[in-house]
Every structure is written in structure tokens, then in C-alpha cells.
């Protein structure tokens, strides 16, 4: 139980590796012409293609061969897929998801000649679900092939518009929603590409704090807007903390997912009780706010032995950099880039070949601290460097 994180890391198949080989294989198979085109574009595949060319391409096992690639490309026949992407708010997190999607779209364009028509929208008012319903209706009117939806409302509030989309021929996919809270068979969306907020986020954060503090100490919590995310993460946190009766929650406040409110909340709680050992911010913006509060009050940030632990959840570039600089202690990286890439994978194979993705597809997540921040940061940097569609 204690090593759940580690097992998950080792057990999970790295999709990144699969796609790496896929690129290499397809590029070698397609020959020099394709290598040239890949090399000239500012593409993630470039590195893989070079690897393959220089280092024993004959022994690597490719993702499909040229014959298969051609079958797919023939079926695609240069088609343009019209996709709408709507999240609950514009933020760094959703930008990372979008860039993950861009990366995968470029990859499929290069491999199969598919074209993409991509539209982004977020509600003007934070978390206005009706605004998102209106947007989806407009996209359905415009005969979009698929829409990717993440809302602050529950599955229930979207079923009517999903049904209308279905009838009109627009396929609905969800991303980044805690599917574990609902009966998956009630959801009309074809697939929910996300992660388990209970066990893959809240639980991991609780375990991490307990492990660092030796199962003993005082912690405070800063929550986002009430809703399904906070409900699920709280559930996971409680499961983790149940095993550590000496690790006590001594204060809770709202930070509404934004830094300034979390900064104030953390300041207030820390002033009341400066010998706090850990702060859990339900998302990273709030954990970053908490780490700024620690700095502002002249308190000591966690150095591996003593100080105050701050942990968030998201996996933002700014969060990873703060971890590198020793300000924020850790975060739960919830696979933003992979959520974007997997969403496009699900959409592509479903739209072109009618293949059915899992109803709930969870990406890998991980607690990231100073000891392992390099890989997730490099991965996010790569995704953000991918050109927009």
C-alpha cells in the first residue's frame, strides 16, 4: 500500500514510448521523403525519426508498417475533422491539455494526412455551464465532427445537449472530469479521458504528506470552488489520512482555484497557527499561493527534513519551476498533456473507423517533487513548444 505510487509508475505502459516507436517506424517505412518532411517541420517526431535513422531501425519494433499506414491514410483521404474544445475556464492547465492535443493532431496529420479544424471556447463567466451548452449547440449547428467537453457541472447537466449533438451527428467526448463519481453507463459521451480524482490525485497528495512527515503533524487545506473536483479529491485525501490518526487537519479555507484568494487564506491560517507542517492546495495555483504566503511570513519551506510542505495538483510548467526553485514542495501531475493526446487518439479512431474507446480512460498521474521534476517538466516544455493547429 505504501508503495502504490511506485508500482503505478512501473506497471503502467508508457504510451509516450509507444508513440516514439510509432513515429520512428512510420518514418523509416515511409522512407527519405517522409524523413525530410518531418525534419523540416518543427515537429516532435523529428527526434524520434533521427534516432531511428542513426540507431538500428531494423531492430526496433514499429507501430504498424507502411502497408497499414497506407490503409489508414486511404480511409482518411485527406479529410478535415472539425473539433470543438471547451473547458470550464481559460487557464495554464487547459492550455497544456490543448497543446497535448495539438501534438497528437500534428502526429496524425504527418502519418495519415488527416487535417484538423480546431475551435477553442471557454465560458465568459468562470464555470458558467449554460454558456458552454450554448457553445456546444452552436458547434452542433455548424456540423462539427466531434466536441471535447469539460465542465464544472455534473454529467447530468450535459446529457440533454449531448443527446441533441448525438442526433445531429456530432460526437461528444469528455476530458478531465472525475468519472469515478458517476455511473458511467448514464453518460452519453463516448468516452471520458481524464484521471481518477479520488485515488490518482487526493489520495496521492495525502500519502505524500504522510510519508514526508512520518505520519505525524498538522496540516491545513485550501479548497477550490465547491463541485465535483473538490468532492472527489477530498474523498481521496480522507482515504489516505484515515491510516494516519496523528496527522491532523487543523484548518480549512476556500481559495476558489485562484492564487490571490489562496494566498490570503494561507496567510490567515498560518498567522493563527505558525507551526503548521503541511498545506494541501486542491489545485496548483492555490498551492503556489500558499508557498508565497510562507515566504511572505518569513517561514521556512520544506527542505526534505523540516519546514512547511506545500502540495498542489495539476502539473503546470510554473508549478514545476517553483518546485525546482524549492518554493512549492510537490504537486500531483494529473497528465494534462496526455489527456490532450489521448483525447485526439480516441476521437481519430472513433471518427475514422468507428472504433470504441473505453468509456472511462484514465491517464497516468504522479506526485512530482524536487527529486523527479525533470521528466514531467521536459515533457510539458515539449508540449508547449508544439505549434498550434
Amino acid at each position: 500500500m505504501a508503495d502504490r505510487e511506485e508500482t503505478m509508475d512501473k506497471g503502467g505502459i508508457s504510451r509516450r514510448q509507444i508513440f516514439g516507436t510509432a513515429f520512428a517506424g512510420a518514418a523509416t517505412a515511409a522512407g527519405t521523403a517522409m524523413l525530410g518532411s518531418l525534419g523540416s517541420a518543427a515537429m516532435p517526431g523529428r527526434a524520434f525519426a533521427q534516432d531511428a535513422a542513426s540507431g538500428g531501425a531494423s531492430t526496433s519494433i514499429a507501430w504498424g508498417d507502411e502497408a497499414w499506414r497506407k490503409v489508414v491514410a486511404d480511409k482518411v483521404a485527406g479529410r478535415t475533422l472539425k473539433i470543438g474544445f471547451t473547458g470550464p475556464a481559460a487557464s495554464e492547465f487547459y492550455d497544456e491539455i490543448e497543446h497535448g492535443a495539438f501534438a497528437q493532431m500534428h502526429a496524425y496529420s504527418d502519418l495519415f494526412g488527416v487535417k484538423w479544424d480546431w475551435t477553442y471556447a471557454s465560458p465568459q463567466e468562470h464555470q458558467d455551464i449554460n454558456d458552454q451548452v450554448n457553445t456546444i449547440e452552436a458547434w452542433v449547428t455548424n456540423k462539427f465532427d466531434a466536441v471535447l467537453v469539460c465542465t464544472a457541472g455534473d454529467f447530468e447537466s450535459m446529457q440533454n445537449v449531448y443527446a441533441r449533438a448525438e442526433t445531429a451527428g456530432t460526437r461528444v467526448f469528455q476530458f478531465n472530469m472525475p468519472a469515478e463519481l458517476w455511473d458511467e453507463n448514464q453518460n452519453r459521451a463516448i468516452s471520458n479521458i481524464g484521471y481518477n480524482n479520488v485515488m490518482q490525485a487526493g489520495y496521492l497528495a495525502g500519502r505524500y504528506i504522510a510519508k514526508q512527515l512520518g505520519g505525524k503533524g498538522k496540516m491545513i487545506l485550501i479548497w477550490g470552488l465547491p463541485g465535483h473536483w473538490s468532492t472527489a479529491r477530498r474523498k481521496g485525501l480522507d482515504i489516505a489520512l484515515a491510516e494516519f490518526p496523528d496527522l491532523k487537519i487543523v484548518g480549512e479555507q476556500r481559495g476558489d482555484y485562484v492564487r490571490d484568494k489562496a494566498l490570503n487564506a494561507a496567510m490567515n491560517l498560518l498567522q493563527r497557527d505558525p507551526d503548521i507542517n503541511a498545506i494541501y492546495g486542491e489545485n496548483e495555483e492555490m498551492a503556489l499561493g500558499a508557498s508565497q504566503a510562507i515566504q511572505a511570513l518569513g517561514l521556512k519551506a520544506w527542505d526534505g527534513k523540516e519546514g512547511i510542505i506545500t502540495i498542489g495538483a495539476d502539473g503546470l510548467k510554473s508549478g514545476f519551476e517553483s518546485i525546482q526553485q524549492g518554493q512549492m514542495t510537490a504537486t500531483v501531475s494529473v497528465g494534462a498533456v496526455d489527456q490532450g493526446r489521448q483525447s485526439i487518439e480516441a476521437i481519430f479512431w472513433n471518427l475514422i473507423f468507428g472504433q470504441v474507446p473505453p468509456k472511462v480512460f484514465n491517464v497516468r498521474t504522479q506526485v512530482v517533487d524536487k527529486t523527479n521534476v525533470d521528466e514531467p517538466l521536459a515533457y510539458v516544455n515539449w508540449a508547449l513548444s508544439v505549434p498550434k493547429i
Partner: protein, 325 residues
């Protein structure tokens, strides 16, 4: 009087809601040219349903604005009425009773505002800011950890069904608009609302029960917010903690577009309804045109300011013409 055409133009522009009607017409023309799918029957029905919530909310807001007040709590009142209504449905109450309790919740919210403002003498801005926060808190307590949703088919009919091809919610909004419009324009109560907004002292001297009028406009606003919230809950078949957040500003924008003055004494139900329709069409068109989400906001802001400017310009033009005549 020898130039009949100019005189007619002035008279035409003097009709309440004429400028916003003109703006809506121009926008529809623009939309049908640049967004080819705008004029499809499904899309028109979508836009009408999308506008309903702000139309109804805006009508209540218009009453308050004309009387010289402001109600910032309507977004939270929407959420609260919706939450209470769906809670009652889930508790097994018959639908009509649940709807009535939902509406009563909205009216009660208005009653509390009115009590604070008229009886206790709070500034309306502060009082409704307080109840905005208070009611949002209650909605969050009711919805944060327990999900409030209903699949009751009759309840979902309210915003999802249609009668004779017309969405039911649009019919509801039409009825509300006609009743509220007639009361405001044709009854003593309506004229009293204008009077209180223009000059409370002389209205009082003229025998108007000023406090009673000020009291009732907030109840009307709360009632409208309740109805709007119930319809929105029916459309989403659920209530979430943030439901209705920010709607008060959209309602004020719709009323302002429709010619209502934030200093009272001016405005109309027709104008506000057209203003709400204008905002819904604008949002729909920008979505259909796949306008970049960030530009979307900027364009919306610019167009609202332009539309209000145009309204002011037209008013000055009409006033000058009246003086010249």
C-alpha cells in the same frame, strides 16, 4: 411641419426600444451573411431558448432600474430558487408544488432585499451585494457535496419541450414579457414605478405610495430570478454550486442596451427583451463564426459600449429635433 419624413423619423426613434430593435435587425442581417447556418430553424430555436433566461431576469431588473434601484442578487436568487425547486422534486413533492415553492423562494429573496432596503434603509447596492453572497453560500452548501439533479420528464419539458413547434421556455418568456410589459406601460402601478424613479419626492406628493412601489419592484425582480433559475435548472436538469453566477451583470447589460437608465425613470420591458435577444444572438453568431475565445470577450464588450453609445446619440438627436420643432 412642412418636412413630414424627418418628423416621422423622429417620432419613430422616440418609440421605446426603437434603437435596440434597429441594432437587433442589423445584427441579424450581419449574422445571416457571415454565419450561414444562423438562419436554420434549429439555430433560431436554439438562440431563442438561450436568450430566455436573461430576458426573464432582465425584465425583473428593468422594474428595479426604472424605480431608481439596483438588484445585484438576482444571479444568486436564480441558483437558490433552482436548488430549492429541484430539492423539492427529489423529495417527492408533486411538480406544480415544487415549482411554486421555487418561485416563492425567488419572491422571498426579493422580499428580504426589499425589507433591508425599504424598511431598514440600507443602500440597495450594499443590501443586494450582501444577499448575493448569502444566497450563493446557501446554494453551495446545498450542492457542494450532494448532487442536485432531476430527470423528471415533466420538469425537463419546461426548457426542453415545445408546443406547436415553439420551445415551451420561449412561450413562458413571451407570456412574462407581455404581462410585465402591460403592467409597466398601462397601469397605475407601472406609471408609479416610473414616477418613483424620476422623482420620488414629487411622486410622494402626488399620492404615490413610494415605499410600497420600491418594495414591490424587488419582489418582482426576485420572482423573475426564481422563474429564470427554475428554467435554467430544467435546461441543465441539475443545479451546480456556481449556477447563475454573473447573470446579474448580463441582465443589467440587457436592460441598458434596451434603453433603461441606471439612474432610474427610463426603460421598457420590450427594450430589455430585445437587449437580451441581442446579447444571445451576438454570442451565438461569434460561436458560429468560430471567433477566437479571447477576442470573443473583447468584441462583446466593444459592441455593448457601441450599442449604448448609439442609443445615447439617438436620444440626443430626438431631443434636438423636438426642440427644433
Amino acid at each position: 411641419m412642412n418636412n413630414n419624413t424627418k418628423f416621422d423619423l423622429g417620432a419613430l426613434l422616440n418609440i421605446e426600444g426603437a434603437t435596440v430593435f434597429f441594432a437587433v435587425a442589423v445584427l441579424i442581417l450581419f449574422s445571416s451573411i457571415f454565419a450561414p447556418s444562423f438562419l436554420t430553424p434549429e439555430n433560431i430555436s436554439n438562440v431563442l431558448v438561450q436568450s430566455v433566461f436573461v430576458v426573464i431576469l432582465g425584465i425583473g431588473m428593468t422594474y428595479v432600474l426604472i424605480s431608481g434601484g439596483i438588484d445585484l442578487s438576482v444571479g444568486s436568487a436564480m441558483g437558490l430558487a433552482a436548488a430549492v425547486c429541484v430539492y423539492c422534486i427529489n423529495a417527492g413533492l408533486p411538480l406544480p408544488l415544487a415549482l411554486l415553492i421555487g418561485l416563492a423562494t425567488g419572491a422571498a429573496a426579493g422580499f428580504v432585499n426589499a425589507y433591508l432596503i425599504v424598511v431598514l434603509g440600507f443602500a440597495d447596492f450594499i443590501a443586494t451585494l450582501g444577499t448575493l453572497s448569502l444566497m450563493r453560500g446557501i446554494v453551495e452548501v446545498m450542492t457542494a457535496s450532494t448532487r442536485l439533479n432531476s430527470k423528471n420528464p415533466e420538469f425537463m419539458f419546461l426548457a426542453g419541450g415545445s408546443l406547436g413547434g415553439i420551445p415551451f421556455a420561449v412561450i413562458v418568456a413571451l407570456v412574462v414579457a407581455i404581462v410585465a410589459g402591460v403592467i409597466l406601460a398601462r397601469t397605475t402601478m407601472g406609471r408609479a414605478v416610473y414616477g418613483v424613479g424620476l422623482n420620488p419626492k414629487s411622486s410622494f406628493l402626488a399620492g404615490v405610495l413610494v415605499n410600497r412601489v420600491r418594495f414591490s419592484v424587488f419582489v418582482v425582480s426576485g420572482l423573475c430570478a426564481g422563474l429564470s433559475g427554475i428554467l435554467l435548472a430544467s435546461r441543465l436538469s441539475s443545479v451546480h454550486p456556481a449556477m447563475g453566477t454573473g447573470y446579474e451583470l448580463t441582465a443589467i447589460a440587457a436592460a441598458a442596451l434596451g434603453g433603461a437608465s441606471l439612474s432610474g425613470g427610463r426603460g421598457s420591458v420590450l427594450g430589455t427583451a430585445l437587449g437580451a435577444l441581442f446579447l444571445a444572438i451576438l454570442q451565438n453568431t461569434l460561436s458560429l463564426m468560430s471567433v477566437n475565445a479571447f477576442w470573443f470577450q473583447i468584441i462583446t464588450g466593444v459592441i455593448i459600449v457601441l450599442a449604448v453609445l448609439m442609443d445615447g446619440g439617438v436620444r440626443r438627436f430626438v431631443a434636438q429635433r423636438a426642440r427644433a420643432a
